[in-house]
């Protein structure tokens, strides 16, 4: 690894190629299964259901036959800055009980469920709506066998606390443990990827260390087609998107008229 300002630190991040994304939803399903996301019998109340990886459908707004559709899969952005250049995320600064932290060694924004008091200030502060509150007790239907699929490495959440995407932090722990057992100091690129990355059938999601120039994410994030959601708010998300379509890129942020600069 090259010596840089962030030497010794990892910054795990994600690049999602929207031109490849078909909107199939496999990432969302894989995420929910991996992370023991509770379900409800009726999931139609979308304001109160939990989806760490949520997929937003967007269109270019043109009538047929010029209509184009794209999808924004949205995990937690694991923001790095609080908008004033401080190394902390919008949700982390506001949390009253220090229940959410930006880990300086991995760049992952954690959520400590047993510490969260459920005041929901973090939800108000997050512009990506990436944080979810447990309005009900956790429920995994027993008769359907769902309880047997629970991931033992991920703690289920109790009612009244906020949860969100952790970049499958338990997988990082697992990879680190294995590396330690094998007497290695660093983990390989493919040893730690998130469940959504692994599941995406179109391979639209790439995951890795943005600080490591050998990782594909660090190259993809520098692509001229790369952009981030609501970049102008200066939250410095670690989730990048790729798209060659200008209308998609334009929908990722707010622009004043004539402010958006098309690539093509």
């Amino acid at each position: 690894m090259e010596k840089g300002p962030d030497h010794g630190k990892h910054r795990y991040g994600m690049v999602i190629d929207l031109d490849k994304c078909t909107g199939c939803g496999t990432c969302a399903v894989a995420c929910a299964a991996e992370n023991n996301v509770s379900v409800r019998q009726d999931e139609s109340d979308k304001e109160r259901s939990i989806s760490w990886m949520q997929i937003f459908k967007i269109t270019n707004g043109k009538p047929y036959p010029d209509t184009e559709v794209s999808y924004f899969p949205r995990p937690c952005m694991h923001c790095e800055e609080d908008g004033h250049g401080h190394h902390t995320s919008p949700c982390v600064t506001v949390c009253v009980a220090t229940a959410t932290k930006l880990d300086p060694n991995s760049g992952i924004v954690s959520q400590i469920y047993t510490r969260c008091i459920g005041c929901r200030y973090c939800q108000a502060a997050c512009p990506y709506k990436a944080r979810y509150f447990n309005w009900w007790d956790a429920y995994f239907p027993k008769g359907k066998g769902l309880d047997r699929y629970l991931t033992p490495e991920v703690s289920p959440r109790m009612r009244g606390v906020v949860e969100k995407c952790t970049f499958c932090h338990h997988r990082l722990m697992r990879a680190k443990t294995r590396a330690y057992a094998e007497d290695r100091r660093e983990i390989e690129e493919d040893e730690y990827i998130t469940a959504c990355t692994e599941a995406c059938p179109a391979q639209a999601i790439t995951f890795g260390d943005l600080n490591n120039p050998k990782h594909r994410v660090s190259r993809l994030a520098k692509s001229p087609n790369a952009f981030r959601l609501l970049e102008r708010l200066n939250t410095k998300p670690k989730v990048y998107y790729l798209s060659t379509k200008d209308w998609v890129r334009k929908l990722a942020d707010n622009y004043l008229p004539d402010e958006f600069k098309p690539l093509s």
Partner: protein
Amino acid sequence: MDSPTHSYGVKRCSPGVFFLWTLPWLGILAWGGLSAVLCLWKGLNQTNMSNVFAFALWIVFDLAVIALGAGAFFTGFLTYIVGKKELKDIINAAVIIGFICYSGAMAMLGIDIGQPLRGWFIFWHANVHSMLVEVSFCITCYLMVLTIEFIPIILENRTLQKVRELRLFGHNLHEIMAVFAATGTFLSFFHQGSLGGMFGVMYARPFAARGGFYIWPWTFFLFVLSAIAAGPLFTILCTKLTEFITRKKLVPDQAVQSLAKISAWLLSLYLVFKFIDTLGWANSLVPKAGLRFMDFYREGPYGFWMVVAELGICGILPAVILMIPKVRQQQGWLIFAGLLTCAGIVLNRFVFIIVTLAIPVMPFDRFWSYLPTWQEWGVGLAVVGYGFLLFSAAYRYLPVFPKEPELNPAAD
């Protein structure tokens, strides 16, 4: 009728009438109690709050009653620190109203958090960078101060006065009230401010975000100013309501006019700063986020009328009414202006809480609406019921209005 529990020289209704008067308020309290039990037992799914409306009716109620309860600390500051002696005739009422507002807000917050049993984490695991931590610490400490300010009033009850220990303690506390008033002013300044700061620091929500001074966004100072402008007016409104219900004059005009005049100046000052802030925000932060001022007023029912209502009808209009001594001295106009100002402050809090959350930040996100459930109304209105009950009981048994016997000599 006279009773050994009432103050000397005042007339109070019979116990039967008083009992009937408390019935509607007890009813509201029962409704609120049922709602609270349901929310604590079954969870916050009893409300219509959602991941979009993480803050909802209860937070609006909280911020509203805390702003309106600011009359307690500000009147205390004017009475004991600045030395406005005429306000001694209204300070007791201000303290009791403040106590009702703050204790009510604290109780409501206890139900609002998802894990009430972990409430103490705010203190023990405090993140000092969070504005809400500043709010929690200052509100809790200030409620302690308000309780200490309330105790001497309780101990002035005619029966309690006969107990020498209590009488002495009450007098001794009252003698050093300036110390508590000063501490209360300090604590109140910071929590009124940080309640505004809470929204100003949400820089990822361009509608609420503001620039500021050091760690405090401009909303910090605007919330302090608006609270000290509206709080005393709310105290006046409450005393006027008491006067209307009891059909007695309870507070000399001098005290009311003195408070109203101060409120008028503060409200005008607040409006000047609010306009500067709005203009500054619309021309710096908003375009920086790629938005225009009017973009925020397109969602659902939240149109530009809100600005007109908040700053025009409930801002400039009452400020003008209160600024003119001759108009302010007429009771009808004073009450009208007070009502408008208080409504404006509640609307301001509503805008910062509900509208901020309702406006989607991501361009492809949709607008969601929210209507509270009966459980939310129950808990919210319980504070009103509790307020009426406590204030009625205080009026009945304590010398809340020291000039009452003097202003109503017929009662002797």
